[in-house]
């Protein structure tokens, strides 16, 4: 069951493929049957930029099964620059460095492993925006 569900949602997990509403133009993530802004049913796939900022966060000191080895880790509500808000784990950051408003960017990382013999699940996380000497 879980393998099938993970497989169906792989594109939104790997690369933040959401939707854009054909009626009101809002960007939507995750993809859904009707637009939450205008209830229009038809939407087109839309690749989100992956850039956003930390809206709120909490640091986990105990974790669900399969996530224990990543402790302690921070889960954040991230507001994407296109508007949608989503919950994701932060990575490449020490929990005490996280602050509200911190610019972050999406990366694809290992989310969990089903033991030594099972499947590796990959998906989006967010890290502090990489500092670049030459800006785009």
């Amino acid at each position: 069951m879980r393998i099938a569900r993970n497989w169906r949602t792989r594109q939104q997990r790997y690369s933040l493929v959401g939707e854009v509403c054909t009626q009101c133009g809002h960007k939507i993530f995750p993809p859904r049957d009707v637009c939450p802004h205008c209830t229009q049913p038809a939407q087109l796939p839309y690749a989100l930029s992956g850039r956003g900022e930390v809206f709120s966060y909490t640091t986990m000191t105990s974790a669900p099964q399969g996530f224990e080895e990543y402790l302690p880790y921070t889960v954040a509500l991230v507001k994407l620059e296109e508007g949608p808000m989503l919950t994701a784990q932060l990575t490449d950051v020490d929990p005490d460095e996280v602050r509200i408003g911190m610019p972050v960017e999406m990366v694809t990382r290992k989310i969990r492993e089903d033991g030594e013999a099972g499947q590796i699940l990959y998906g989006y996380k967010f890290r502090p925006l990489l500092e670049r000497q030459t800006a785009t």
Partner: protein, 361 residues
């Protein structure tokens, strides 16, 4: 010195159509383990002449697939093409996350290249990535594909206390190969030199590699790189002075310095691409990350010599000339030294946890 007038050009690997690099991208993880810290644990810190300053260590949620994805996204950002136009995604590594199940399908899906695409994993120790580049040159040069993506990436492991533990590191780079008319650097020719040489190996189900110690130097690394480079230069009628930059496989700091000197290159020619002191040996990523750092700084018209080495053993040598497209494309993605500057030092205990060394036998 080789006689240029009688150089054998039939040994060159060169396609009918001119082919080049349309986009490139690197990735180096955030964590660094200083060689002095490894020495502190195993040798009481009394060693002199450590092979590198420090090495890059992947986080708990990173592997060859995730590093390949980020490098590939950087190459696509520079190329500015639709990923649906890519016809091959080939990942060279000796640390694929699965024994059976391609890394390349995960990468192809994540960058939006599926489903009309070739996907396969390549293996040849530290030259698996340049093997994939040669194959991409063939695929694009024959006209079978407009674009093909080659990646070299590894999360290399050394047995605790072994000399390889000082250098075995993580990182990777991706090269989007396409028509010369769209390229930021054009391949002038390449050449592969291979023999059956048992300098380094890993049997199935073994976690750590074995190596032939002193055998890894002269008959393996130096013989293959020198032979590949000299044959390529001779076939193209070139001298070391024709090149602004040269990049050689980097298992430690001394080997590439020595091989450059032996071939007649000056220290200034290898300095830009010599990253091993700061990130360690990233195996299939090693020479390819070095090339990415060179492309970050090269100017139109500059020539670059790239020579990989893979144990077992062989070398792929490439002659490249940079085009004017480099100028506007290179800042569309992070530079390799941006990743190297992003640096979090860790101690040996954290390293043992991150690399799961207590789980393995």
């Amino acid at each position: 010195m080789n006689d240029r007038s009688t150089a054998d050009t039939s040994v060159l690997l060169k396609p009918d159509r001119e082919v080049g690099i349309v986009g490139y991208g690197a990735y180096v993880p955030r964590y660094r383990l200083p060689a002095a810290e490894i020495s502190r644990i195993w040798k009481g810190g009394q060693e002199s002449g450590l092979p590198v300053k420090e090495k890059a260590v992947p986080g708990l949620d990173e592997d060859t697939a995730t590093m390949s994805i980020e490098a590939a996204r950087n190459s696509l950002a520079r190329a500015g093409i639709d990923p649906q136009a890519i016809r091959a995604v080939w990942v060279g590594s000796e640390s694929h996350p699965y024994a059976v199940k391609p890394t390349s399908t995960i990468v192809a899906e994540a960058i939006g290249a599926t489903p009309g695409v070739q996907a396969a994993d390549w293996e040849f120790a530290c030259k698996a990535g340049t093997e994939a580049i040669v194959a991409c040159i063939g695929l694009v040069g024959s006209g079978m594909a407009r674009y093909a993506l080659a990646i070299g990436a590894d999360t290399a492991q050394g047995r605790p206390g072994d000399e390889l533990e000082y250098t075995a590191a993580a990182g990777g780079a991706a090269y989007l190969i396409g028509p010369a008319g769209e390229s930021l650097a054009v391949f002038e020719g390449c050449y592969s030199y291979v023999t059956d040489t048992p300098d380094f190996w890993r049997r199935p189900h073994m976690h750590y590699p074995s190596h032939g110690y002193r055998f890894t130097g002269e008959p393996a690394y130096f013989h293959h790189i020198v032979s590949a480079a000299e044959t390529l230069l001779s076939a193209l009628g070139r001298r070391p002075a024709d090149y602004r930059y040269a990049v050689f496989h980097q298992p430690n700091t001394k080997f590439p310095q020595r091989v450059a000197e032996r071939l007649g290159f000056q220290p200034e020619q290898i300095e830009t691409g010599l990253l091993v002191p700061f990130i360690g040996n990233t195996y299939a990523g090693s020479s390819l990350i070095g090339l990415s750092a060179v492309l970050d700084e090269a100017q139109p018209g500059d020539r670059v010599l790239l020579v990989s080495f893979g144990s077992g053993a062989g070398s792929d040598a490439f002659s490249l000339q940079v085009t004017e497209r480099i100028v506007e494309r290179r800042d569309r993605a992070p530079r390799t030294r941006d990743y190297i500057r992003r640096r979090q030092e860790i101690d040996y205990g954290t390293y043992v946890r991150y690399r799961r060394k207590l789980h393995t036998h």
